[in-house]
Assembly symmetry: C2
Homo-oligomer: 335 residues x 2
DNA sequence: CTCGGCCGTGATATCGTCAACATTGGAGGG
DNA sequence: CCCTCCAATGTTGACGATATCACGGCCGAG
């Protein structure tokens, strides 16, 4: 089997005894083709091992069949999960996904690369706040942004961060906790701000004073540091007995901090995370957390781009609480 | 600012008063251009906001400037890290990365999609063993495979799994452990087999009997189950005091299992992982593990594809041991 | 019986780029 | 001073697909 050049429409056309135009119609499923002809062409395509040359099609039609995914990092488990969901949904629709990472050049550079690549649209995965100040997106690029503030330059898809966080906080309050702290994500993050809001508003609504507010950077190391700081003065008169952590990875760090300080979870400290990462069920102890539906987020984001959701539109995915072993009623110190 | 169609070479050529061919030469950095002309053309390109139409170029040259990344899942942290490294290296070289996931259709389907997309080459990220039985890769696709058995149909890049695992095992032996178990990855995995080999050979070479061998599926839940099983009969006459776990996520599950059974790590059980995932330093306790250099792996894999490494070639990246708090000398039971 | 219109199909003209060859003008050697 | 050669630039023609228009034949309405 010699290595021939790949078959083109002309080859198939000749083989089937029709014009290239008819082959094109068959390839694109046009209804204006006689069933008999269609069958003959399909046989010829199979025989020649024909496949559409996407570059040629793209040149002619102006559409590439590629969507971009802009991502800041894949070290955050949530981002990976979301990317996976985006890839799945795009593949199912016959689109390819090109990944662009936001590097030192900032989001503008990532968009530059994608535009260069000629994508039909792009999905921005989380942490796109820096975008807001930018002025790209010159209308030629359909855009869906996950977890960013409302903006009428793009379609938005987001988790119900505030509601999820509120549910987590309410869960702790119902267990009997009175001093509930929060370890938030970075200030630049919309998701972090929303989760913080859910925590704060729930407490205020319940007539409780919000506990300490610390801040991390999504990763477990920053969660560990925040945990140490939070737990340093547990002996105070009104000690924290529970903490809502803005994501699971930081919660992992908090668990480690508690362990090192000899503080038992959940006996002395209840910890709730956010994301319900696959590993969360196997933290020590298993983590109570708020589930993000990454699969749905990805599906909706892809749909927004490919089905042409209006810029400015928003879709919100609910986030159910998953109760596991890291939360319990506060331990009452034997006086 | 009206929405014009994008500028083509012809537009730039007219603007600069040269032919499109000269514009092409400038765009491709040909040396056969007078510096003065070059400057003028560059100015015109900037003014017109010109960018190469990659589909047109691909049609003409037959190369797309896209490399594919075939991945089974992004839920395994190692895969995500590797993908990130691949994206970075490819971007640095001006290539785009298209992600294809191995779904129900198996690897063949993923390759089909990539070939369809017209990638210039592809990188297979881990867990590609199923590939071996397949007969795709009809020479038209440059292929680099990470962590798969040697095969002369593709270039291989891999971590020194056996050596890393051996170092971990030796570390435990030097601490004084005599019964060292192993929780391996799935049987289909080359990396898992190599890591198991490193463990076994080190023990045999030291004249020790290999401890129990259990098997998981890379995820923390399977690590938890294996951990429970391993630790169920710790009271035996010759109890295991250390375990080498084939990756960090499974080690996380083992830590949880130990905790639930009231077994102290590292006092009663030393645990060593593999990967050195970002979170490993914040497990409870901080995990001793073998570091995989995902950045290097990604770089070499991309290089292998784009610089045309020979099929059959192999590159091995070393994997240093990182000692943290989950390993210590075995606790001697007060008799 | 004639004519408009639809159906299936074909012919043609690009889409933007680059390879290959053609052309120009001037430098340098004999 | 002429010829050669080379550097710089231009001209032409695909690459493979599809949008658009054109065409022959058949059907049903008037």
């Amino acid at each position: 089997m010699t290595q021939q050049r790949r078959a083109s429409m002309a080859d198939v056309a000749e083989l089937a005894g029709v014009s290239t135009q008819t082959v094109s119609r068959v390839a694109n499923g046009s209804p204006r083709v006689d069933p008999v002809t269609r069958t003959r062409v399909e046989a010829a395509m199979a025989q020649a091992g024909y496949r559409v040359h996407r570059a040629a099609r793209a040149l002619r039609t102006g559409r590439t069949g590629v969507v971009g995914a802009v991502v800041s990092t894949l070290a955050t488990v949530g981002n990976s999960m979301l990317l996976e969901a985006v890839v799945d949904e795009a593949s199912a629709r016959g689109y390819a996904v090109a990944v662009a990472r936001i590097g030192e050049g900032g989001p503008a550079e990532a968009f530059e690369r994608l535009r260069d690549q000629g994508v039909d649209g792009a999905i921005v995965v989380n942490e796109a706040s820096a975008l807001l100040r930018q002025s790209e997106l010159p209308t030629d690029l359909r855009l869906a942004v996950v977890d960013s503030p409302p903006d009428d330059r793009y379609a938005g898809v987001e988790t119900a961060h505030a509601a999820g966080s509120a549910a987590a906080t309410a869960h702790l309050r119902e267990l009997g906790h009175r001093v509930i702290a929060h370890i938030a994500g970075p200030e630049s993050s919309y998701a972090a701000a929303e989760r913080e809001r859910g925590w704060r508003e729930t407490l205020v609504a319940a007539g409780l004073q919000p506990g300490a507010l610390l801040r991390g950077a999504w990763d477990s190391a920053s969660g560990y540091r925040a945990g140490l700081e939070l737990l340093a003065n547990l002996d105070a008169s009104d000690p924290v007995t529970a903490v809502v952590v803005a994501n699971d990875q930081m919660a992992l760090g908090v668990l480690r901090a508690a362990s090192e300080l000899g503080i038992l979870v959940p006996e002395q400290l209840s910890v709730v995370g956010f994301d319900d990462v696959a590993d969360a069920a196997n933290f020590t102890p298993a983590l109570t957390t708020v589930r993000q539906r990454f699969d749905l987020l990805g599906q909706r984001a892809v749909a927004a781009v490919l089905d042409g959701a209006e810029a400015g539109s928003r879709e919100v995915i609910d986030a159910p609480l998953v109760v596991r072993g890291s939360s319990a009623a506060p331990f009452v110190q034997p006086a």
